[in-house]
């Protein structure tokens, strides 16, 4: 019964993903029909060069990035929730977002302009936050997951405070740039971002799938996983590092996109099942699907202006999540 349930959910999600990807390419300020899209993608002659450029250079890389970012964040969230046995864990667990924020702030406000790109600064800041949390927690051998989570929260507040202090005295234009960046956007993404994100997303997904039995075993208790021959300390360290790296890459490319990593896994468990293989694949598809539509909303709702992604993910995601919660216990 469960098997059929899963196959059905997966087929529906994959079909929706495919349709959404095609449909998304038609959305935008230049009006292109579905027929145009199909002929451009299949390389048929007789399409205007403008349409060709719009699709290949603007809309398609952004779409692929949306898929990668959504899938990546949702998979990270699922892995961290299982690995830390905490349903509230999300990819920004280790103060990653605050670290990225600080990195971006330093690069845009303090350092001379154009010395280091915002993305690189954010990436370095995110890794710094993770390194800080790991150094603090290294002594306790990852037995007490709660301590790691608390250390992440503390690091997060500390780094945010420093960023806020710098931004308070910064000139408004530079400060705005950082604040808007923190709210998340895919508008700066191109094929370069795809090349950067794709291998990392695929690698983390494969790693998590390879370790799916170990992840399942962790759901009971560390003790119980150890009796099955799982080295829980090493497993947790590998997973935490891999997800932190992926999240740092995503944050560096598109800023902060809240909620996806926290809530998509819960929604997926509801429809796909709770064992890791189903959960991870489901998260990859549903996360991608969700992010595509969030980005579509972001760039089409207001004329001539984009809404930050983080605003929409938080709003849409929370309403949807509360509705499900009201209907039945997750």
């Amino acid at each position: 019964m469960l098997k059929r349930h899963y196959s059905l959910a997966m087929s529906v999600a994959l079909l929706l993903l495919l349709l959404s990807m095609l449909l998304s390419l038609t959305l935008g300020s230049a009006s292109l029909t579905l027929a145009d899209i199909v002929s451009v993608l299949s390389g048929q002659p007789g399409v205007s060069p403008l349409a060709d450029t719009i699709i290949w250079q603007i809309r398609l890389p952004r779409l692929v990035c949306a898929v990668l970012v959504g899938a990546g964040l949702a998979v990270c969230g699922a892995v961290l929730q299982n690995a830390s046995r905490n349903p509230l864990a999300d990819p920004y667990l280790f103060g990653l977002m605050a670290g990225a924020g600080l990195g971006a702030t330093l690069v845009s406000v303090v350092l001379p302009p154009q010395l280091i790109s915002l993305a690189l600064g954010a990436f370095a800041g995110a890794l710094f936050a993770v390194a800080l949390v790991f150094t603090v927690c290294a002594g306790q051998r990852w037995h007490k997951v709660e301590m790691t989570l608390l250390a992440g929260v503390a690091v997060s507040f500390m780094l945010s405070a420093i960023s806020s202090f710098i931004l308070y005295f910064a000139e408004p234009f530079a400060a705005n740039r950082v604040i808007f960046w923190l709210m998340g956007s895919l508008s700066r993404t191109d094929w370069h971002s795809v090349m950067l994100l794709a291998p990392v997303v695929v690698a983390v997904l494969l790693l998590a799938l390879a370790l799916r039995r170990q992840l399942d075993a962790l759901l009971l208790s560390d003790e119980s996983a150890r009796t099955l021959g799982v080295n829980t300390t090493r497993l947790r360290l590998i997973l935490l590092l891999a997800t932190a790296l992926l999240t740092a890459c995503i944050v560096a490319q598109c800023g902060g996109i809240a909620f996806v990593g926290l809530m998509i896994p819960h929604i997926v468990r509801h429809f796909f099942g709770v064992t890791s293989a189903r959960l991870l694949l489901g998260c990859a598809v549903v996360g991608a699907l969700f992010m595509i539509w969030v980005d579509n909303l972001a760039r089409t709702v207001l004329p001539q202006q984009e809404i930050p992604l983080g605003v929409i993910t938080s709003l849409v995601g929370s309403v949807f999540f509360l509705l499900i919660m009201r209907r039945q216990r997750l």
């Binding site: 399942d216 009971l220 009796t227």
Partner: protein, 259 residues
């Protein structure tokens, strides 16, 4: 099958286990008994490789357990301990399938043989009809049987049980011990209830303050003076009139001894 010789364990300055030596043969059920803090659980954790001894030797199938890799150890011995419910809504079949873990490499899928093993384990533990139920809906006894099923899927040569009957109704306490005894796997169990131990075990190991006070057949270990000394209460031991099993009864201590 399992042989301990002069095993000692210290936590810092505290001597937790002192000079433990006993052996378990094929087909035997040995019960570890003793008051709280006697070192029963520590002994089990030593044997499952979660702790390592300062001195002495633990041989499993004639090999030192420190030579076993973690997965290899999990294929050789399985542990059923006090039960915890899983975080998310796993089904009975999914939890039982976790026992396949030590037999599987990274991307290996479950074969039809694996599925048959899981099915067989659920059958032996009487949970076949519940295989797609969510674990949360099981009773305490059913949950404990599920963990035994998971241990069976590991196909172990030895089964360790840490207080398997704790928090269970009397009916389930007997059911669980009957079940594991019928499996035909050598068993080593910490047991709190001396009468249950007397009824189901072949041999007993009595621990007191980390020391091995007695090891032998049930009749050899269950001596009234010894029990009274270890458990601190006057004790009478009698043969049950119909069951041919020993029964331990502790009596209230005299008032002056309580003070």
């Amino acid at each position: 099958m399992l042989e301990l010789s002069a095993v000692c364990l210290r936590f810092g300055a505290k001597q937790v286990l002192h000079n433990i030596s006993f052996s378990l043969q094929k087909g035997e059920f040995i019960g570890i008994i003793g008051p709280n803090g006697a070192g029963k659980s520590s002994l089990l954790r030593l044997i499952q490789g979660a702790l390592s001894a300062q001195s002495g030797q633990i041989l499993l199938k004639q090999r030192d357990i420190s030579c076993f890799g973690t997965a290899e150890l999990a294929r050789t011995l399985a542990v059923v301990s006090q039960t915890t419910a899983p975080l998310f809504a796993l089904t009975v079949e999914q939890v039982a399938s976790m026992g396949l873990l030590p037999h599987k490499s990274w991307f290996e899928l479950n074969s039809s043989y694996d599925r048959a093993q899981v099915k067989l384990a659920l059958q032996k533990t009487g949970l076949s009809h519940k295989s797609s139920d969510v674990v949360d809906t099981l009773s305490g006894g059913e949950l404990q049987r599920l963990y035994i099923a998971r241990a069976l899927v590991q196909q172990p040569a030895l089964l360790l049980l840490d207080e398997p009957t704790n928090h269970l109704d009397i009916q389930y306490q007997h059911q669980i011990l009957q079940l594991v005894k019928a499996l035909g796997i050598p068993l080593l169990a910490c047991l709190h209830d001396l009468n249950l131990a007397a009824m189901y075990c072949d041999k007993l190991l009595l621990l007191h303050q980390g020391r091995q006070v007695a090891f032998g057949s049930v009749a050899e270990v269950l001596q009234p003076e010894l029990m009274a000394q270890v458990f601190g209460l006057p004790c009478e031991i009698a043969l049950h009139p119909r069951l041919d099993k020993l029964q331990v009864t502790f009596m209230p201590a005299c008032a002056e001894r309580l003070c």
